[in-house]
Symmetry: C2
Subunit: 244 residues, 2 copies
């Protein structure tokens, strides 16, 4: 039977279908480290574990619309860089029923990160540090904002540890050749702030002059002539991201 025949004869009610969900990695920079916003689970399964904010996809709702809805419902945000990450569909990933989830990466600047936290007290900011595993992600360790590891170590529900790790790997991989880094910054920013973002995501210090040259050569930065305020030393120039 060809696909065409199969589709024609397909009775939508005849087969059981997986449930379809979206899960969001709300990612920002906190204390110089990548940080995500998690929700505590109070019920089984995975009671007491931490989970990504998510929700089910409605029958008449596009995937990106579902992600945007979760972003609004759980974090009260209307604007964020939303990017599809990967679709997780192992059979046993949810012990109750079959749930396939489309994971999304939501990049928040400092202001949006704080706003989400203020709007929903159930969210916990957690600094993440992905072990450099394979492309599909690996184990992660979570650290409380203070800097000390939470004891006992944070346990993530479902396969959300894989999703978090993959989010960071993806971001790290795209940082150099794309403009995602600017999604983590306010509209006006200094070159030092941009470098801080790159260092936080990459997990390694960068050479300042080389970084400046590289960024300015990309042609994405337009100088504003304005300078930052409130420093006790020479203020840096503020730049704006602008596609070439």
């Amino acid at each position: 039977m060809t696909e065409a025949e199969f589709l024609t004869q397909y009775d939508p009610a005849a087969y059981q279908r997986p449930s379809l969900a979206v899960d969001l990695v709300l990612l920002g920079i906190r204390d110089g480290r990548p940080a995500a916003l998690l929700q505590a689970r109070r019920d089984h399964p995975f009671a007491g574990h931490w989970a990504l904010p998510g929700g089910f996809v409605a029958i008449d709702e596009a995937l990106d619309a579902a992600a945007a809805r979760v972003l609004h419902d759980k974090a009260r945000l209307t604007h964020a860089h939303l990017e599809q990450l990967y679709t997780f569909g192992a059979v046993g990933r949810d012990p109750r029923t079959r749930v396939v989830t489309v994971a999304w990466l939501a990049l928040l600047d400092e202001r949006a990160f704080a706003a989400a936290l203020a709007a929903n007290p159930a969210l916990l900011p957690v600094a993440i540090e992905a072990a450099w595993a394979g492309e599909q992600g690996g184990p992660i360790t979570a650290i409380a904002p203070g800097g000390a590891p939470l004891a006992p170590p944070i346990n993530l529900a479902f396969d959300h540890a894989d999703i978090l790790a993959l989010a960071l790997l993806r971001l790290r991989g795209k940082l150099d050749y794309s403009d995602v880094g600017f999604a983590l910054l306010p509209p006006l920013f200094t070159l030092r702030q941009l470098q801080d973002v790159h260092e936080a995501i990459g997990g390694a210090p960068l050479n300042k002059p080389a970084f400046r040259r590289r960024m300015l050569d990309k042609g994405w930065l337009s100088p504003t002539g304005e300078r930052e305020e409130g420093t006790s030393f020479r203020p840096a120039e503020l730049f704006r991201f602008q596609r070439p």
Copy 2:
């Protein structure tokens, strides 16, 4: 209501769910161009259009297992590089009912490409040439193996043109920093063959000495000491791909 509460109270039968499918981009190199294997649709919707081989995901079937099953059923192949591409879920992408599809990239070497073609006469090899559109893909033009454009131009069913274009973009992007290129080659290959693959995917000629150096410096190639046969000129050495 938190996600945990929602999940707990969620009645699997209470809500309509989208159908979940997988679609495969069976990609190989043909006449120095990237080529995909398509199926003709005989029935509405999109009768007379060309479509990617695909199928629905069973309730107890993982996503990669569904992709492997389609690979086997439609192309009679048991081994191929399978890589998840993107999940397409616009509401109207299938005019009959809501279908969300997880698109996969299947990379075939010349032998596997020919075997699939021989095993399933319904498959049509089509050379693809992606316009350099945005990241989510764009319009493509398809060319018959002879080299001349098919008249009238090939029409692809559903959003499969976007999927094809995205497949090529993804492959192009990963070619330089990953080892996907070797999935398009037989176990033993010459440096010229490797360069041909890179030029076909990249769509641009490459400098021979620089390409050799770059590839050998990666440490992925182990020389076999053997040489190709049947040439009327100096035969090239055969290499094998080996992770460092």
